[in-house]
Structures are given as C-alpha cells and as structure tokens.
C-alpha cells in the first residue's frame, strides 16, 4: 500500500516538475529565438545591400545556416518563392510564417512584427529594404528585451515551482 503511495507521490511530483520545466524552457527559448531572428535579418541586410542577392537564394542561405525553429521560416519562404507557383515575396513570407510559427516559442506580438516585415518585402530598391529590415530589427529587439524581463521573472519560478506544486499536492493528499 505504502509502496503504491510512494510511487504515486513520486509520479505527481515528477510530472508537475516536468511541466514546470517545460514552461520555464519556453521563457528562455523566446528571447533566444528573437535574438536568432535579428541575426538572420542582419545577414539578409548584408546580402541585399552588398551582394544584391535575390531573395530566394538569400533566404535559403539563412535557412541553412541554422537549424532552429526560426530558420525553418526562412527555408520555407525560399522554397515557396522557388516553387514558381506565382507567389510574391510578401506572400511567400506570410505563408511560411503561418506554416512554421507554431514550432517556435514566439508570441502574438512577435507574430505581428514578422507579419509586417512581409509587407512589401523585395518590392522596392535596396535603401527601402534596408530601412524595412532595420525597423523590423528594432521591433524585435524591443520584444527581446520584454521577453528577457519575463524570463527573469518567470523562468526560476517555473523551474522550481513545478516541483514545489507537486510536493504540496502530495502533502495535501497524504
């Protein structure tokens, strides 16, 4: 009987702890992905400004450089642009964003920023594209700072909080 109880108690504490860890990892993942997005945009800016690389090639290059949830957006957009199914760069970007967004740790505000980035992507000269990328990067940095603050507030709480919650449930049930 007590063995069952022990196993049960262990399971409760373990699962509550894991759930907490999961939530904590979300808080640490989001700023990291926002950082990765800014790095990617920096590369895109260089490709556009100095090499005038066409978007399919530039996006593919960025997509291949990393293997994160974020770089998959770039790969998907490149694939859509190359599919010759009549997508403009903006359409390819928002489609890729919708397909791949679920796999990232980003939230609704980030989505809005990325969505706006697709408007008019590739449809103007280099200076305009540069401005657009700079603006998006600025927004992303703001989001990153916000995410960083949330992380500091919440990451530790959830990492240990899950286990504490599990223990308190066990104590209540005992």
């Amino acid at each position: 009987m007590s063995l069952f109880k022990l196993i049960g108690a262990f399971l409760v504490i373990f699962s509550a702890g894991m759930a907490g860890m999961n939530i904590a990892s979300y808080y640490s993942l989001r700023p990291r992905q926002l950082r990765a997005l800014q790095d990617a945009l920096q590369v895109l800016d260089t490709e556009i400004m100095y090499a005038a690389t066409p978007l399919p090639a530039a996006l593919r290059k960025i997509g291949q450089a990393g293997d994160t949830a974020v770089s998959r957006i770039f790969s998907a957009a490149a694939a859509l642009l190359e599919s010759s199914r009549g997508y403009t760069a903006g359409e390819a970007w928002s489609r890729a964003l919708d397909e791949e967004f679920r796999g990232t740790a980003l939230d609704g505000d980030d989505y809005a920023v990325l969505r706006a980035f697709g408007e008019g992507l590739g449809a103007s000269d280099r200076q305009e594209q540069h401005k657009k990328i700079a603006l998006t990067s600025l927004h992303l940095r703001k989001e990153e700072e916000k995410a960083q603050r949330e992380r500091e507030k919440n990451e530790r709480l959830w990492r240990y909080g899950g286990f504490l919650l599990g223990i308190s449930i066990v104590l209540l049930l005992l």
Binding site: A52, G86, T88, A89, A123, D125
Partner: protein, 330 residues
C-alpha cells in the same frame, strides 16, 4: 502545339500575375504560335502582337479589336508581374531598371517604362512602373544561312566587316545571333573553319545572359561580355580574349565609332548592327555617315519586315554596289 508552348510562352506563364496567367492559358493556338510581344499597360487593355498583327485580349483569352471589350490590366497585375519576374527581389535589378529592361530565363526580355528617378541629372532608377513589354525570344537557326556566302572572305578565312541595317523589330539581332553561331561552329559545307567570336552584349539581347549564362546557343567558340558598354567592351575583349570576330549590337554613338576605328585595323572582323531603313537615313546620322565615307564596313546587309521579320532586302559592298546573286525575298 506542345513543343511551341514549351519553348515560348510556357517560360513566361509562371512569371505573370495569376489573373493574366489564366488569360494566357486560354489563348488560341494561332496566337500562341506566332506570339511576339505581350504588352501590359496600367489601366489599359491587354494587348499582344503575333505574326505582325496586334490585337487586344478579353478575359477569356479571345482576340478582340475594340479596347472597351478587352481585359483592363490593373495596377496589381503590373506589380505582381514585376515581383514574379524579379523573383521577389526588385532591389537585385537596379541596374536593369536603369537600363529599362530585364532579361528572363530563356532569353525573353521585358521592357519597362515608368517614372524615372534622377540623381544629379543621371537616371538612378525607375519607380511606379506602368508599362511592361514582354518580348518573346525565338531563336531562328539558319536565319543567316543565305547571307553567309556574301559576307565571308574565303581567302582570308574570316568575315568582312559587316553592318546589318534595319528598322526596329526587323530581325537584326536574330540574324546577327545566327551569324555568330554559324561562325563559331564553323561551316563545313563552305569549307570554312570555326572562328572564336567575342560578343559585346551591352543590352543583354544578343546572348541574353541570365545570371551570366547565355540563354541562346551561340556555338562552342564564343566569349560573351554581358551588360558592358560597347566602346569599352570591344577594346577589352580584343585584349583579353583575342577573338577573330567581334560582334556587337546597335552602334551609332560617337564613342562606339571611336572604338570601331581602333578595331578595324587589328585583324579582327567586326559584325555590328544599326537602326535605319535605307542608305539616306543612315547618311543622315553623323557618326554612321563617317563610317560609310571612310569605307570601314565592307558589307551592308539591309533587312526589313516586308515579308515578316528578317526579310532580306539586299547586300551592298563598301562602294554601295548591290551584290548580285543574293536571293532577295520578293
């Protein structure tokens, strides 16, 4: 006509706005076969040119002849088409926008017109593009065959300095391209060896390079200097590639003529084209007149559209004597 479809309009279809694509997919085959130009003008009827005829198209892809019945090209059609043509990267085509045309895979060309943006009096770029003219490239192997015996110097084993003369769209470039191809392959039937040919392709029309690769077959012995100004390019090619023949399109400016003077006595043969429809018109252009008076070119080939593009009107020598035996199209 699946084979024709594949060569011409099929390469264009993925590059036009979906609304236009739907129209072109329903084009009757007699238009598809002879399609030369597609004209998109903002808020204006969609027009095509085929077999030297022009018509508007309605939304079902049928030819109509009154503008009010035709499909009106919207601003979005133009913007989308531009995006698709530029692979969603208009910024990568700044030089092309300055020049006023973009070369597509397959050698097709898109002419552009819109609002020019000047910077210190120099054309910087083009904005608000309102007209697109898609010209379907069609290689015509053998187009220059009947000409060849008259412009080859069999003793020296090289062609004479030759100028191809015609009004616009009469097949100058097509014939020049075929001349280059024939010379580069060599002519076993005439016992004429292949020559190495340098092509200065200022407007990317002759070789129609797409990302540096010629889209037209120009034979095994061709070096292409793409997008390079003719005057600089000819001198550069002469030094760097040691060609036996240099081919270039549309001479007529003072610097072209100055560069030609440098070329004529270096042992390299020159093939060039010029816009004019007759001797009188040519002689009214100061730089061309100078070339004629100094007998720089040994052969003048006149072309017209009288019997379709590439109609041969005759071949003259430097003394303005019509060469006999040329099989003139009648």
């Amino acid at each position: 006509m699946p084979s024709l479809m594949e060569s011409g309009i099929c390469q264009i279809l993925p590059l036009v706005a979906p609304a236009l694509k739907a129209i072109f997919e329903r084009l009757p085959s007699f238009i598809v076969e002879g399609l030369e130009e597609i004209r998109l003008r903002r808020e204006r009827p969609l027009a095509v040119r085929y077999h030297q005829e022009e018509c508007f198209l309605n939304i079902r892809g049928e030819p109509v002849y009154t503008p009010s019945e035709a499909y009106m090209v919207s601003e979005e059609d133009i913007l989308k088409t531009l995006q698709l043509i530029s692979q969603g990267s208009l910024y990568a085509y700044e030089e092309e926008l300055r020049q006023g045309f973009i070369t597509l895979p397959g050698g097709h060309r898109v002419g552009l017109a819109g609002r020019a943006v000047l910077d210190g009096g120099v054309l910087k770029t083009m904005r608000d593009i309102s007209s697109l003219n898609i010209r379907i490239a069609r290689a015509v192997p053998g187009a220059a065959r009947q000409l060849l015996p008259f412009i080859l110097d069999f003793q020296e084993k090289r062609p004479y300095h030759t100028l191809l003369v015609s009004p616009p769209r009469a097949g100058k470039t097509t014939i020049l391209r075929d001349l280059v191809r024939s010379l580069s392959y060599g002519l076993p039937a005439l016992n004429f060896p292949g020559l190495s040919v340098g092509v200065v392709d200022e407007r990317s029309e002759l070789a129609a390079c797409f990302q540096g690769v010629p889209q037209h077959d120009l034979g095994p012995r061709v070096d292409v200097l793409d997008c390079c100004p003719k005057a600089v390019g000819m001198v550069m090619l002469l030094r760097s590639m040691a060609p036996q023949v240099i081919a270039t399109d549309e001479i007529g400016r003072s610097e072209d003529v100055a560069a030609l003077w440098e070329m004529v006595n270096t042992g390299v043969s020159i093939l060039a084209t010029a816009h004019a429809s007759c001797w009188e018109e040519m002689e009214q252009r100061p730089y061309l007149r100078e070339l004629i008076e100094q007998r720089v070119f040994r052969r003048y080939v006149f072309l017209s559209r009288r019997k379709g593009p590439g109609t041969l009107e005759g071949v003259w020598d430097e003394n303005k004597r019509l060469l006999r035996g040329v099989n003139v199209s009648v």
